[in-house]
């Protein structure tokens, strides 16, 4: 499914009429791929903690899964988990809506998220076989598109920095915006 469409939108567009042959073919393709989607969804569920831990390490967290996290690391871990779960849900139902909605919300919670999500994508895709990478790729692209749109609307102070310049845990990854900055 290279071109992702929301099923509720497609159905709404054809209200009072029949779905197009292309829509019906997509439905069948989705149904036939469901077992693969389900297996990958379960991999995401099983590996979530490991993958997020790797991202936190790349962000400078030196401890293991049991070591305490700073508040900003906890926030980042939570937002990464939300995004990964929404990615999984979108994959499972064949609809980009969850990943669009959750990523947008997560971006508002943590402005340094795009860099961390790029790291998470590299970690996840690097851990999967090629066929599962391919199945997940359109949803990562959707997630990145949401990040790009959100960044264009609300550019973070550090958005021009490279991933190698991500802050260490002793310093918050992003300084908190003031109300005045948020409502410019």
């Amino acid at each position: 499914m290279d071109d992702l469409h929301s099923w509720p939108e497609r159905i709404a567009e054809r209200e009072g009429d029949y779905l197009t042959p292309d829509d019906l073919q997509d439905l069948i393709r989705y149904s036939l791929s469901f077992q693969e989607r389900l297996e990958l969804y379960q991999v995401l569920q099983q590996q979530e903690l490991t993958w997020i831990q790797k991202v936190l390490q790349q962000q400078g967290h030196s401890g293991g899964t049991e070591s305490p996290l700073t508040p900003s690391q906890r926030l980042l871990a939570r937002q990464l988990a939300f995004c990964l779960r929404s990615l999984g849900l979108s994959l499972l139902i064949g609809d980009p809506t969850p990943v669009q909605q959750v990523t947008l919300g997560a971006m508002e919670q943590y402005l340094g998220l795009p860099q961390a999500l790029a790291q998470l994508r590299a970690v996840v895709q690097g851990s999967l076989p090629a066929d599962q990478q391919g199945l997940l790729a359109p949803y990562w692209q959707e997630l990145q598109a949401v990040c790009a749109t959100s960044q264009a609307q609300f550019p973070s102070p550090s958005s021009s920095r490279s991933e190698a310049e991500v802050d260490l845990p002793t310093v918050p990854p992003e300084r908190a915006l003031t109300l005045a900055e948020m409502f410019v």
């Binding site: 029949y18 019906l24 069948i28 149904s31 969804y41 569920q45 779960r85 849900l89 609809d95």
Partner: protein, 156 residues
Amino acid sequence: MNSRVAELMQQSEGRYLRPDELKTLHAYVEGIPKRVRLYQVLQAKEQELLDRVMEKFQPMMPNLIRQHGHLAWERCRRDLSMVWRYCCMAMLLNDEDYLRDKLLYWLETILKSFKMRDQCQPAYKLMLDSLTYIFGAEESEMIRPYLLLAKSMLVN
């Protein structure tokens, strides 16, 4: 995606689906190819069905044009086609709520306000009776619950 699955998605926001929820989703998705196949048959034979219904309905309503104008039969066929298409979509989605929410509550109000329920009643009975003449057993049985729901809300 039907309303039951949509509800499942909303309830699961921020967490992974539980095994029972995955089972519900799996059962729904597994049925899609069969529903698509039936949907295509129902679509292909819509005109044949409506021709048969209109052919039998018109002699039953000799005064319809005098009562409702020269477009009355055209509008009647258009409305039956609309109901049929919403029923087909509801069957495809396995979702009676879709039919109720998107069409029946609205059309019920229209038919009541124009006092058309009694006049339209035979058309829905004819549609139901015609199913087995036009379609095979499987198609008829899959679409019948939606047509019965439409009939019960619109003209009973």
